[in-house]
């Protein structure tokens, strides 16, 4: 029953990079399936760390994590599409090599869809990653993730450092292309721009989950997402 209700279950998650300076402290939450989740919080609140743990690239944490019924591992990685906030493709890769690589390893990868993205983004499939601009590299990584029919998408700041015009375009691509009935967790600072896109919101602060509720509940309270954000984060928001 649990497996059907929740995409992500986290219990008593603790993580620190430096002793006595925890990034996440006894974090517990559930994320229902089929939701578009806005993961919000000031810089250094643990958003990226949380996404890295869920994607399986951070290992030394304590606590229990269940993703679609399984602990992080090969099974969850097969159905989780992670877009980190860094360029991770090898320099010698061309766009076509990256597409073939994903096609080899991920059964949910749609090569035809990826090639359509290549045309849409006006990318040269034979251009090497190292000769691309940062924006082009981000497009390649986005098309790789959005060409998968994953059960869980983890997108770390996909709109960070992107100009407002491109931001809307990228947001549309994400919203139009994530697999139906899947869960999408998107970390961002841009509360205003994305409020309409989310149907669930989770706010992290001081290493804890401060808010984890549906956007409908936020609206019922008569407040905007930004107001709730400022209310729970307080001074950190202003510093940020």
């Amino acid at each position: 029953m649990e497996q059907q209700e929740y995409a992500v279950k986290v219990r008593n998650l603790n993580k620190s990079y430096i002793r006595h300076k925890p990034v996440l402290t006894d974090v517990s939450f559930d994320i229902p399936r089929g939701k578009i989740v806005g993961l919000l919080g000031p810089n250094g609140c643990g958003k990226t760390t949380l996404l890295k743990i869920l994607s399986g690239v951070i290992h030394d944490y304590s606590g229990k994590i269940i993703i679609n019924g399984n602990p992080p591992g090969p099974v969850t990685k097969a159905t989780t599409a992670f877009l980190p906030d860094t360029t991770y493709l090898a320099d010698y890769f061309r766009t076509i090599d990256a597409i073939d690589y994903f096609n080899d390893f991920f059964y949910d990868f749609d090569r035809v869809k990826a090639m359509e993205f290549v045309e849409r983004f006006k990318l040269d499939p034979k251009q090497k990653i190292k000769t691309m601009s940062k924006g082009m590299q981000e497009k390649v990584q986005l098309l790789l993730v959005m060409s998968r029919a994953a059960k869980l998408y983890l997108l770390d700041e996909p709109l960070g450092g992107v100009d407002p015009a491109a931001r809307e375009n990228i947001l549309n691509i994400i919203m139009d292309n994530y697999a139906e009935k899947s869960t999408l967790i998107l970390s961002t600072h841009m509360v205003n721009d994305l409020e309409a896109s989310f149907n669930h919101v989770m706010i992290l602060g001081h290493g804890r989950v401060l808010v984890n509720t549906s956007v409908d509940n936020v609206r019922k309270s008569g407040k905007t997402l930004e107001e709730v954000f400022k209310e729970v984060i307080g001074n950190d928001w202003e510093i940020d």
Partner: protein
């Protein structure tokens, strides 16, 4: 999946090191060409080029193994490799197999270049054949074994050499992994060298100690090869023109390498954070 990992790791290795091997092939072609034009200067130049490129290939291959494994497992490319739907044991195994392959290729190139240069410089006046006869007669005069014993000895020694190369690669991957574990990662790339040196010294020291306790030897005779732990049997075989190779360290290193592989997998699964 392991097959796909190996395929992509081999492609990555070829892209990183392809140029140096291409240069080696071109230099070898130039060497052969120089024998046709009978130019002394060209002969010297192409021989030097082949020799230097072979040396560079070995160094570049080892450097590529270290930096490639570090970057693809624990560097920014780790965001790709560590989110693949494969077991960590498969990831490490693939790196081990493919890195060993490239190291063996570099050894093979170095050996081939050595043989090529020897044949090339001794072929004209048959110096090579004379040298072989001298060495063989010299060995015979000391009551050492026959030709077939030396052939077997060389083959076994070569296989042990390749085996040691594969083991060294596993030690390198282990050292890279250890140097990415907190707080050891503060040592940076220097940590890889320290941990590799410590691992090699520890394993080598323990194998010497074990040899003193139990000396397993492979005895090579005209009639064949056999394993023994009896020092008297080894002595008798050597007096009869045979040769012996110590095998205690080979067995020990094989067992240690399996444990180091398992430990590397556990470290990667429990202690590594991608930056």
């Amino acid at each position: 999946m392991i097959g796909k990992l190996i395929k992509h790791d081999l492609i990555a290795g070829a892209r990183r090191m392809g140029n140096i091997y291409l240069a080696a092939v071109i230099a070898c072609a130039a060497l052969l060409f120089s024998s046709l034009v009978k130019s002394g200067f060209l002969r010297f130049l192409s021989s030097a080029a082949v020799f230097v490129i072979a040396c560079i290939a070995v160094v570049v291959t080892f450097a590529s193994v270290v930096f490639g494994a570090n970057k693809t497992l624990f560097g920014r490319e780790g965001y790709l490799t560590q989110t693949l739907p494969v077991r960590t044991s498969s990831l490490i195994f693939s790196k081990w197999i493919t890195s060993s392959f490239w190291v063996l290729i570099s050894y093979g190139l170095a050996a081939a270049v050595g043989i090529l240069l020897f044949v090339y410089w001794t072929s004209e006046n048959q110096d090579g054949a004379q040298m072989y006869e001298i060495i063989y007669s010299f060995a015979q005069s000391f009551g050492l074994g026959g030709e077939s014993v030396y052939q077997k000895y060389l083959i076994v020694s070569a296989v042990i050499g390749l085996f040691n190369a594969c083991i060294l690669v596993m030690f390198i991957i282990f050292s890279i992994t250890l140097s990415n574990v907190r707080p050891l990662n503060k040592l940076g790339s220097f940590g890889i060298i320290i941990f590799l040196a410590l691992t090699v010294f520890a394993v080598q020291g323990l194998s010497y100690g074990l040899e003193a306790l139990c000396d397993i030897s492979l005895v090579i005779e005209e009639s064949g090869m056999s394993m023994t732990v009896d020092p008297a049997a080894v002595e008798t075989a050597i007096q009869a023109g045979g040769l012996a190779i110590g095998f205690t360290s080979v067995y020990f290193k094989a067992v240690v390498t399996v444990f180091i592989y398992i430990f590397t997998v556990i470290l990667t699964e429990t202690k590594i954070n991608l930056k």
